[in-house]
Symmetry: C2
Subunit: 206 residues, 2 copies
Amino acid sequence: MQKLPSKLVQEAVDQMASLPGIGRKTALRLVLSLLQRNEEEVGRFAQAFQKMREEICFCSVCHNISDRPVCMICLDNNRNKKQICVVEDVRDVMAIESTGQYKGVYHVLGGLISPMNGTGPGDLHITTLIDRISNHDIDEIILALSATMEGDTTNFYLFRKLKDANVEISTLARGVSVGDELEYTDEITLGRSILNRTPFEMSMNR
Amino acid sequence: MQKLPSKLVQEAVDQMASLPGIGRKTALRLVLSLLQRNEEEVGRFAQAFQKMREEICFCSVCHNISDRPVCMICLDNNRNKKQICVVEDVRDVMAIESTGQYKGVYHVLGGLISPMNGTGPGDLHITTLIDRISNHDIDEIILALSATMEGDTTNFYLFRKLKDANVEISTLARGVSVGDELEYTDEITLGRSILNRTPFEMSMNR
């Protein structure tokens, strides 16, 4: 790395490069672009993160981010509290919310079981999920995790933990993505989508 | 874009996405990674940028970034003040400094002439360069600009402005990069490197 002309720039580049996926060259480019702005603008930039961190907390029920102790989704009386959708992180809540197809509540695990990254079941919000199921009248748990090895491992772990509780457990449907050409779909997905074929009338519900 | 669960997160994502080359998806990922840190860490993150912007200024002689009115390079008495290397921006100063081959001073233009981006000669620090040459005893101007169309345009503009001043004007040597295979070198570079061939003894000076 090139020598930086000032300790202050060095510190700013170090902080920028501490973000995931931002290397030192990119960090320097971003920091220099901030130097082109006036003090007030950079102040607003910096304070946005500080204010967010100070005021945002995590929902005590579902671990979603929230600006109050219990999040808007958990407080919403129009939502079905007996249906819990288990997701990896906050972005998955946003993704599912933006479909407008789900009217239950969520439980954010905060990660997936991944021995490679050193994340075990104890690092995830699994105990609070089991408490929710024992202490409340829950009908269904939807495991909405990524279709990766880590997602499948976590699915399997949760299924074993929850199978004795009196709840229905489902996972997201696996199949051909809308808009995908069959020719380029991988054989495992295609195989599963033939095995789990749906009645034609159901496929018309968009 | 997905609906964000809070105005504070929205504001932080907007600010992050205002950086060049950072899209809204990446901005959200970075902001959520900040939410995983504690308040003190995020405070340090935010203050690094604010402090840098408040305390860093630009050198009144060469426009390099500096923590005092005149930068360390311009103040250094061991450097040859009669040799000015003209560069596009601060990163070029760092790149040339890291070679350890240059002992003169710099002049940072702050950009290149680019009609496509609406940058004209008036937007660059060209007047101050001409003032430096008229008011001080300068021997040589080295035009160290990128080998792009904008760089060549700016080179040509500066050459026309400076050719009547009593200074030697040079540009960076164009040629085959060290480590490049001849077969894959473009024909313009290869052509120039044959025309501007150097005596064998000089090529041994690393």
